[in-house]
Amino acid sequence: MTWTQVIPAEWYLILGTALFGIGLIGVLIRRNVVIVLMSIELMLNAINLILVSSSAYHANLSAQVFVFFIMMVAAVEVSVGLAIFTVIYRRKESTDIDALNELKG
């Protein structure tokens, strides 16, 4: 394969890190619950990207299987998360994550 000689493995690592960082910033700075969930998706995808690239560079399919599992977990997380969010929205009429501070001790 020709193109991998052009692109060093570090680039994918940097790209993945940048994506993860963006997702992390999103989780930390946004107050909208749905956007926070989406930022978590972004972080999961950064990990996925790094896993797929390392699978390709190390010739090991296990990493792709992990990506598979991460996708499953992401799907579960989103469906449960959004279901919880809709229940909360019905009670609180708000999308603000700071409105959910009732569990504080």
Binding site: I35, M72, F85
Partner: protein
């Protein structure tokens, strides 16, 4: 040409990811995230994992993002709640900066051993399936239990009590 494709896809990924967390309108966020997922699928194809790329599109763009869009369209008023306090914002940038510096430093020091070239691995359906259902059969079955419990949980939550 491959290098150009990589740069284009990476730029698209980063820009759309930034747009996810920076747009004021949640619908724009969702659409940018869909674009981001498409560019990541492009990366998967570049990394010769077409099966994962297509599954990525089906799962994320086809199912998860529809769910997000659905919830946002149904639930949300167009006014957004905005950002957290300044302290948290600066703190988050600090955390992310430290993370980035650490990664770069690790690569500079040569602690991360990275291969130079791609080994010729075929991410085809059959080879991936052999690994998934051979070596990882038990985790796969366990993940189905996770799925089942999620389905039950969501149905429970969705019921009007």
């Amino acid at each position: 040409m491959i290098l150009g494709l990589f740069c284009f896809l990476s730029l698209l990924t980063i820009m759309s990811a930034l747009s996810v967390i920076l747009s004021r309108n949640p619908v724009y966020s969702v659409l940018s995230l869909i674009l981001c997922f498409f560019s990541i699928a492009g990366h998967y194809i570049l990394l010769s994992a077409p099966f994962l790329a297509v599954v990525h599109i089906i799962v994320y763009a086809g199912a998860i993002m529809v769910l997000f869009l659905f919830v946002i369209m149904l639930m949300m008023r167009t006014s957004d709640v905005g950002l957290t306090s300044w302290v948290k914002r600066i703190g988050s940038f600090f955390v992310v900066g430290v993370l980035g510096v650490t990664i770069v430093a690790l690569m500079q020091r040569g602690t991360l051993v990275l291969p130079r070239y791609l080994a010729s691995v075929e991410g085809s359906v059959s080879s991936l399936g052999r690994v998934l259902f051979g070596q990882y059969a038990i985790p796969f079955e366990l993940s189905t239990i996770l799925f089942l419990s999620a389905v039950v949980g969501v149905v429970m939550l969705g019921k009007k009590s």
